[in-house]
Amino acid sequence: VTTGLFFVQALNGLQLGVLLFLLAAGLTLVFGIMNFVNLAHGSLYMMGAYFGAATFNATGSFVLAAIVAVPATMLLGVVVERVALIRLYHRDHLDQVLATFGLILFFNELVRIVWGPGAQFMSPPEALSGSVEFAGLRYPAYRFAIIAVGLAVAAGLYVLIHRTRVGMLIRAGATHPDVVAALGVNVRRLNTSYSASARGSPGSPA
């Protein structure tokens, strides 16, 4: 049991790690580059999951749920930023923490009001509902899919950050925002664009 259990646990850990990376990649940019403490990141992840579950319950299609959840979360992120976060960028960290903590409470109550306190369920598509067998071990195919998607996103992010002009600006903005701004780059617009995508990313694991 030991070796097999170890491999299964290692895969579970890898899956959790990949999921965490999808969230952390967005949050680390918001923290590091915009110098903004956003505790509501997890709430947007929750909202993305709810969007996915609601779409799934309405249509019965997992693929459609995945397609709807990401842009819906992104849109919600933009709305939240316009309504609340944009007033906080120039305030100190304590204000940011208090306000985004309030957003956590707000979103938790919102989903209780809209969807009720119980859990919502969705099931993966038929193609991923089985389990994969390798080396005498069985592992759910859906978890393999999460790992694969997460690694693909990681690779895409690597290319975006290290091989494109936008990525170069993001990296530059992380270390010397004043110089980048002096060179004529609109740091605020750059921040808005990638924070929108950073906030959309949590919806994807839904």
């Binding site: 049991v1 646990q9 290692a10 579970n12 850990g13 890898l14 899956q15 959790l16 790690g17 990949v18 999921l19 965490l20 990376f21 969230l23 952390a24 990649a25 949050l27 680390t28 923290f31 590091g32 580059i33 110098n35 403490v37 990141h41 997890g42 709430s43 947007l44 992840y45 929750m46 999951a49 709810y50 996915g52 579950a53 100190d92 304590l94 923490v97 903590f101 956590i104 979103f107 938790n108 989903v111 209780r112 969807w115 306190p117 119980g118 859990a119 919502q120 369920f121 969705m122 099931s123 993966p124 389990s131 759910p140 195919a141 859906y142 990681a154 992010l157 690597y158 950050i161 839904a206």
Partner: protein
Amino acid sequence: MAGPILAVQPGMGEPILILTLVVIVTGGIGSIRGAFYGALIVGIVDTIGARVPADDPARVPRALARAGCRPGDRVDADLRADGGGARHSSAGPVPGSQHDAARVTRESWPPRSIVLLALVPAIAPRSASLTTSRCSRAS
């Protein structure tokens, strides 16, 4: 192994947020590459660590209560291997099949709001003015 049913519930964002904060601090704030390695480290450590709770006897009853067991029930390998989520299949699908393992240990944490507020000085190292003014006012 729990069935491939995904559960969505209120409050599912906070545990994952705390882990994410650990990840970005581990990898270095602002670094995506660091976030990647940090996420793998934290994910694996959290998974392995959550499955070895038996050293602390006080934690086991809480984990069992969480899983819907009563005192006197036998703890089978399924419970330990799957973090408790799949203990009672007769009770229908158990919420949080994905993160139930992590939640077993998180039971013993202080209330989340306190944890989050306690993180303020830790995650805001650049706001030296904030922390120093707090200290001087307190003294």
